[in-house]
Symmetry: D4
């Protein structure tokens, strides 16, 4: 696709999604991560953790709740599939890091119910993927010795594709 | 159905359900929300949240634990199906708002087990639907930034049909 | 409750449910089996099978898909819970015997998908419970040596309460 | 949103989605049913079946596998939630009617495995929702006496919004 | 069976179960609740709660983890099946009341994991059924306004059959 | 336990279980496989298959539907846990070999529903464990190249303990 | 790792795994796909299908039943996650293509139970990954118009890494 | 297999697994518990608990998350299957005792999410099985009166095979 046409399309999309959801709209348009981008982010997150000697799984979800990419590094523990995918889903659907979700629950016990929603995992290591302020997905890492270390790898994955998130 | 006959039926129903459950009764009668009412309440709750810019899901359950209506607004996050339906179910089956359930668990840790019952979600946003003191269903909203905002939309849904809940 | 009032209530109910579902109705009324009736039917079905030396489970569902009564006879095999409850649910929700459902699937392979619906078990032994033509529940028996023998016990359960199904 | 801008956006979208998935694309755009359209289609399908005296559930899924609208008509049997939602999901994800899926399995036994995929229900009553040749969702109806009757109501739902599916 | 023979059998059973589990034993014998006893206890618990105006479900499990009897009283909320059966299972498998389990978890947070075991519900209302010190089952009630009130009904169920638990 | 006492106990048990289930009995007694026997049968089945070069899993269930012993041989494929345990459960609860169950379903399509009961696996390799005519459990093997070969190993497991099944 | 040492290790491994499973062995060694290889195979399979205009998901499992890599191509239908992962698992655990499994079930109805084992999907599109005769994993593709087309992409994935499978 | 060859193989393995996961490796090698070892450890753990009069279940998982051995002792409560297997899985996948996991969650509430990962049970009684510092599996015991007593039996199981874990 010619670069110019794509720019127009994305501009048009922005207009569409900015339109008021006034009930008059029949078809909406949503921006989605390509597998190209999702896979590259996952590879970068895995590389970062592997380089540091951490044996991890990495997952990327899109905004519709569909798993786009999953990679289990060599020697990653069995539970890291469930852990990485849930962190990625949580970040994508709540639009914040899973460490923030965990902190919010700890500081506000009446929101503890959040952890009972299927797929939600309030445990550090997941981060939302954004185009500006719009959440378009989430990435999650599991298996490093601590949620902050998992999250650093997630951030490395996002950093790798950051300049193309537009 | 002629209006008059319906009034008689409902009056008779009230008599039936007020009768002592003394074991001598073979067939009981229960009042159920019509899809007409359930759908209208769900639409009103969604409209209220949409108007405020919140991207939410709305669910209505009847007293038998059956989902009657579900609407996912444009752009609502994936987890809002599970969250809205569980809030509605919780309000319908426990007969109180989900915020009250969350508060009760927080203040009385020995009732924490409530959150382990399948389908129960102690998180603000759900409210019971009543005819007088009789719980006939529940409505739940998820996706607004805070349980109180979800609950306000649920209340808007109930308000829309309140005068016909009799 | 005085007999007379009950008769009126039920007559009124019949009028309500016979009314066209034209969207103008806000609250509907449904007739439900009492636990009195459900339990008695289950006991009778179990007694019939026990007398014949069959070790069975018996289940009764109402029209809303709620289990009302379950009895596991002495020595009934573990799987009979799943089998009896699913037969009862199938009869209640499809409104015909489970043997008829099995036959229909066998004779019309394109309806084989019926068996893939959660809770549906196309295996003889379940029968609907009716008030006239109106299905108000289902009963299922499992553990006898053959679906026809299971169904005979289900029928014995219904026969016990037949004259009060009105 | 001004009509003209929307036309541009959709045209641009068509260009985006027609572009070769050559790995060079970072963000893709997808057209989604609005809740406005999904809800209207569901209401129309329910009205059609209700008018004919069928007690049914209706479900609409989008192309991402998210439930958008669900309505349980008065008196619809308990299993109709699972049946209607699975028919709608099947039509949306496979892009054909569920009757066609059932026929294909019947005529080609080696494809019987299709029925083992979670969420797939090869039973008449579901139909894809399309913009031209592009599948953007699915609608499913359950509870009428026969898959062809369920499908007729699904088609009534699509017909109601057909001219706006563009 | 003649009374005398039965006495011998039970005495013999006691001897069998008292034998050291030294690996030399090939077949063991266990005492089980009859459906006669289980059903009677469930009926008594339901009657007690009904008399007090509580709309509840009652469940009885045996020591092998099999549901023996379940009764849903008229008007009991949908969640009471899950709640009553889990309370009964918890009491049967842990050998103490569910209120004690809840208290233990509250006082000893490192045992909070107990609540994560499938089927375990730490919420008042369940009680073990014993022959002397030997746990042979559990009963659970759900739906009354408070775990203590549920438990009182469970106790009424046990009291009804107490003198035959030998 | 002295041999003589045990004989008496078992004889008494036989009397108890032979008694008519006439409702007059409060506590019943059941014979259960000891872990001693279950484990030995599993080891023998595994040894037989291993000797023939088959990489298998072996499972033993008791009559109450509880898993008593499970062994995964070196190199057995992942699915063999589910396959072996379900074959053992099927044989224990239906009281016949899983090859017989598969044949019965094939010859009598209207009993196809059997395969839809949770835990039932109609696939050769499982066999009931009996004391005379009384089914006291089941054993299942999975992973050999063919159900008949799996069943031969199951039979070797039973043969090992046959003379103590009394 | 120096090439030479690796060769020794693998040779030693071959010796280990060739040793009779005579019970005398305490620790065994298994060869596992690296994420390097798994990911490359998945990318190649996806590229092949994308080039042909098919919108698919690709999954790679190892011999232990762990998902190693998953990629959802742009526009792949929702069900393709379940379909691709199950095809890959089936091929890995049964050691043959899923088309062969489907054919075997069709030709030998008494083996139909295979399809009831959790995770087994008898539908063309999956292929085992082997080192010589040793199955070390499986790859599965879903979303192309026909199982043979899915399988062709799976084969392209294997072909990409074939010469390093040693 | 000659002892010498095995030593070489294991030495080579150590070299392989110590190699940097630099992406250049195609096939990795992992050390696995043999069923010989797993079964012996389980038997020893069960014997220890039985000797002390505790009625328990014992489970052993390998590092891939596969159950290798399970034994339910005579009279062990129904829930001990779920409890023992989850403790063993938790210890194997997290590489520490389940008591340590419970303590960590208690002392650091923001890690409470750990308990929400499927299969993770933070309750004393499980212990990792190691070869030096390398976690190769986990063992779990459930049913003794207290997690410390369960853990003591797990430790007895490991002690039995300790000198062969190399």
């Amino acid at each position: 696709m010619p670069k110019g046409l794509k720019t127009v399309a994305i501009a048009a999309l922005a207009a569409v999604t900015a339109a008021p959801a006034a009930g008059a709209q029949d078809i909406t348009a949503t921006r989605q991560l390509s597998i190209h981008l999702a896979s590259e982010a996952a590879q970068a997150a895995l590389a970062q953790c592997t380089q540091q000697g951490y044996r991890v799984s990495v997952a990327v979800y899109d905004r519709s709740g569909l798993l786009r990419a999953y990679l289990r590094g060599d020697g990653a523990s069995p539970h890291t599939y469930d852990s990485a995918t849930r962190k990625a889903f949580t970040a994508a659907t709540l639009g914040r890091t899973t460490a923030e979700v965990a902190k919010r629950i700890h500081e506000n016990p009446e929101s503890a119910g959040l952890a009972n929603i299927p797929g939600i995992l309030p445990l550090g290591g997941g981060a939302p993927i954004k185009i500006g302020d719009e959440v378009v997905g989430g990435i999650g890492v599991a298996g490093a010795p601590g949620g902050d270390k998992d999250e650093a790898c997630s951030n490395a994955g996002i950093a790798k594709v950051q300049d193309r998130l537009k």
